[in-house]
């Protein structure tokens, strides 16, 4: 095929994508005008279809300017969501959150399956230094800024200095949480390979476990600070131990069963993954185990205790190509723009401080660990994104410390919104600059 023909075909496809996107928006708008009050309940069907098509087409157009697909998914959701064009109502967005269950299970499975024991062993020194500096410096710096500036702005004198200290510590823990989903989505799109990719995956996945542990520990000490009548109780640490041990044990079992299935049968993985995502997560909720950790361990077991890791990753990629679009587009629709507008100065300041301290902490940790130059230079880029995990932890904090009210969580949502939008762009840029991204091969169509 000549360059001119290829160029003409590329132009035709881009034109079709723009026309398709306009068509999808136009259909939704006309349908809403024709039937302002939908008949029956299933408005979710159109919403999922719209987010899937809209996200897919917006992401294809984002590709032209070098933005990651994830940004396109988010953008489509924001535009269609209840705060901009109102094509998708708030209740529908809430109902679509069911997709998160499946998406998070797939993300954790893929995250675990991407971790090779050999790589972890090789990166142990790097992970140890970087986790240490991130957890130390970022937690302290963002906590200090929250205590000094943002906290008083948001809470005034309502919490007292002790309560504000506790809130600052909790904020610091949230600041060191990352987004495994964004990391995996970018890597899945770019098919990146190299030291930066390996480091980012290993760090983001391992730091999840550290964040969960740090949060539990911080909550133990924050409780008496927030409520002077409360005493120091290690009950939560006991519950956490039960949760972690149980999750690891169950994750190992699921991983072994999955590996056996992949080896002996190996078909209809779409259905198996969906059943795992919904069915097992429901069981884990009942048992009070952590789904993220369980699926992470399951994926790790499949990759490292069997030779079925690649097959599992391929199946997740096929399934994820649909699920992740809806997941991130729903996240976009969920972005509370009025809240962001109201809180943007505080949120921007906190996000900036977090980003700067993350970069500094990474540079320090990476030099101490003697990482490869490309990791030293760009390794921080995958640590900026925040999404579902951070929001989930903020819900736990809100429930455990009602005195913080909704203001604390609102500030979290506003800050996460900024990191959610900017983080993936920075990570994609870093992968491009470090030349670890690969051209996408044309694939054979096959059932997911």
């Amino acid at each position: 095929m000549s360059a001119a023909t290829a160029s003409a075909k590329g132009l035709a496809l881009r034109t079709a994508q723009v026309a398709g996107l306009l068509l999808v928006f136009a259909l939704m708008i006309v349908a809403i005008r024709l039937a302002p009050q939908p008949y029956g309940t299933p408005t979710t069907i159109a919403a999922v279809g719209f987010l899937l098509l809209g996200g897919l087409l917006t992401s294809a157009l984002c590709e032209i300017v070098g933005l990651p697909h994830l940004t396109g998914y988010l953008l489509a959701g924001v535009l269609a969501g209840p705060h901009v064009l109102q094509l998708i109502e708030h209740d529908t967005v809430e109902q679509l959150s069911l997709v998160n269950t499946l998406a998070l299970a797939l993300i954790a499975l893929a995250g675990g399956a991407e971790l090779h024991a050999g790589t972890l062993k090789r990166l142990l020194r790097s992970l140890a230094w970087n986790n240490w500096t991130q957890a130390g410096l970022v937690l302290l710096a963002t906590g200090a800024v929250f205590y000094t500036f943002s906290g008083p702005l948001v809470f005034g004198d309502a919490l007292g200095w002790r309560g504000l200290l506790a809130a600052s510590a909790l904020w610091g823990v949230l600041a060191i949480s990352r987004s495994p989903s964004a990391t995996l989505a970018i890597l899945s799109q770019t098919r990146a390979r190299g030291p930066l990719t390996t480091f980012s995956l290993a760090f983001v996945m391992s730091s999840d476990v550290i964040v969960i542990l740090t949060l539990a520990l911080t909550m133990v000490f924050a409780r008496p600070l927030m409520d002077p009548s409360a005493s120091l109780s290690f009950e939560e640490l006991g519950a956490l131990g039960h949760e972690i041990v149980g999750s690891v044990a169950l994750g190992t079992t699921i991983g072994l069963i999955l590996a056996a299935y992949l080896r002996l049968i190996g078909s209809q993985l779409l259905l198996v993954l969906i059943a795992l995502g919904f069915g097992v997560t429901e069981g884990l909720r009942y048992l009070h185990f952590d789904p993220l950790l369980t699926f992470l361990v399951a994926g790790f077991v499949v990759q490292n205790l069997s030779n079925q890791g690649e097959k599992l990753l391929h199946a997740i990629e096929e399934t994820g190509s649909v699920v992740f679009v809806v997941f991130f587009a729903t996240a976009g629709a969920h972005l509370d723009l009025p809240l962001l507008r109201a809180m943007w100065p505080a949120a921007l300041a906190l996000a900036a401080v977090r980003a700067v301290t993350t970069i500094i902490a990474h540079r320090v940790g990476s030099r101490l660990a003697r990482d490869e130059p490309v990791v030293q230079r760009w390794g921080w880029a995958s640590l900026v994104s925040q999404a579902g995990l951070t929001l989930g932890l903020s819900v736990v904090i809100e429930r455990s410390f009602p005195a913080l009210g909704t203001a604390f969580r609102s500030l979290v949502i506003a800050t996460v919104a900024l990191n959610e939008v900017l983080g993936p762009v920075l990570f994609k840029l870093a992968l491009d600059r470090s030349r670890e991204t690969q051209a996408r091969p044309s694939l054979l169509p096959g059932p997911p």
Binding site: A31, A35, A46, L443, P447
Partner: protein
């Protein structure tokens, strides 16, 4: 019942369905109509064991709609072809004409029966008559395929039966678009006559199908193809539901236009055909659970009258067929019964009607669909087998071997690069 458990149960059924598609050894087993899954749903439903409550069924309504819509999409994409063989235009036109005639006769019978025994009148009577015609006029595509897979049938009559089963699907799906448009028209904020809304229903699917074809372009990427097809299908079904249009008709038109305008028709068809059975089985169970057993003598009389009318229509169709086709003449008098099998499409349209028009009329239409499928199951496959034996297209017992899988159910690994 916990919705998540039910969902996992439906996934297990889908898994079984995928095995039925994928495994050559057990292809041709089960019933061609899928009636056993309808009966399973009936058993689990609120009227017998109560494992599936009404609330659960309501919660799963979106899933039911998506499943039956997906079936219509596959039918549309496959329309006009049996495997890789294109149907001759005169077969398609002739079948459409005969099916329209059957639908008109059945509608007239339903009109008289419902007026006499149910006391219906006005618009409701017309709607019921049309709905009854929709769920009693087709012959399932799966009957000929089932007999050919199970008994290794091959020959002109086998091909003819497969052609008829495929070509008649257009009629009920277009009629369904018109029927839903009649009800939708007064509720929409822009006044147009119902034929215009019926045309818009089909145009919506056609536009989405054309857009999919344009977006797929010349190259296919696995993940994007699924995302695109699923997105278009869900958007089409969702918009149709919002507007009270027939989602099945929208997705049928989507599939049809996609097949006509995309250079990847064969690849897409093979991709989607493998999903038909996995999607269908859960849908049939949910359809069975929706069936109401509050049958009265009047209901039985109406259903009985319609089944007799269907038999008469099929006898008329067989007689017309015999005048133009030597292959049909070789099938002999059993041809009328051979045209009786109804299956997934009939049941899905019955379910679509029951979901869109909850109440006695919706329930009765679904009951008619189930009765049509059950009667077809009892008399159809056996008669078809004997007709094919008589025509010499099935080898005598003992010498027959299971035929190799036909192209339309070939495993997905055969999918080729474009």
């Amino acid at each position: 019942m916990n919705p998540v458990l039910l969902f996992v149960g439906l996934l297990v059924l889908a898994y079984l369905g995928s095995i039925l598609v994928g495994g050559r050894a057990i292809r041709g087993y089960g019933l061609p109509s899928g009636a056993e899954y309808v009966l399973l749903g009936l058993l689990l439903g609120p009227h017998v064991l109560g494992v599936l409550t009404r609330d659960t069924l309501t919660a799963f309504q979106p899933l039911s709609l998506v499943a039956i819509g997906w079936l219509a999409l596959v039918v549309g994409l496959d329309y006009g072809f049996v495997g890789d063989r294109r149907l001759r235009p005169r077969v398609v036109i002739g079948t459409i004409g005969v099916t329209l005639l059957s639908a008109a006769i059945t509608a007239a019978a339903a009109w008289f029966a419902a007026r006499r025994w149910l006391g219906l009148g006005g618009a409701e009577l017309w709607q019921f008559a049309a709905a009854a015609a929709v769920v009693t006029c087709e012959t399932t595509r799966h009957a000929a395929r089932w007999v050919s897979e199970r008994y290794g049938a091959a020959g002109p009559l086998t091909n003819l039966m497969a052609d008829l089963g495929d070509a008649d699907d257009l009629v009920p799906l277009v009629l369904l678009a018109a029927l839903f448009a009649v009800v939708a028209a007064p509720n929409l904020s822009y006044p147009l006559p119902w034929p215009a809304w019926a045309a818009i229903t089909l145009a919506l699917g056609a536009v989405l199908g054309g857009a999919c074809a344009a977006l797929l372009g010349q190259t296919l990427r696995s993940g994007e193809v699924w995302a695109l097809l699923l997105g278009a299908a869900l958007l089409g079904m969702g918009l149709a539901t919002r507007l009270r249009f027939s989602g099945m008709s929208v997705l049928f038109a989507l599939g049809l236009v996609l097949a006509l305008s995309s250079p990847h028709r064969a690849v897409l068809r093979r991709m989607l055909v493998t999903t038909e059975r996995p999607v269908l089985l859960p849908a049939l169970v949910l359809a069975g659970a929706h069936v109401q057993l509050e049958a009265s003598l009047e209901w039985a009389l109406v259903i009985g009258a319609l089944l007799v009318t269907r038999l008469g229509c099929k006898a008329l169709s067989a007689a017309l067929l015999a005048t133009v086709s030597p292959a049909a003449r070789r099938g002999g008098p059993l041809m009328a019964l051979s045209l009786m099998p109804a299956g997934a499409l009939t049941l899905s349209m019955g379910l679509a009607f029951a979901l869109a028009f909850p109440g006695k009329m919706g329930s009765l239409v679904l009951a008619i669909a189930v009765a049509t499928a059950l009667l077809g199951e009892i008399v159809g496959p056996g008669a078809l087998r004997r007709a094919l034996s008589r025509a010499g297209e099935i080898a005598p017992a003992g010498s027959a071997e299971i035929a190799p899988p036909p192209a339309e159910t070939a495993p997905s690994s055969e999918v080729v690069a474009s």
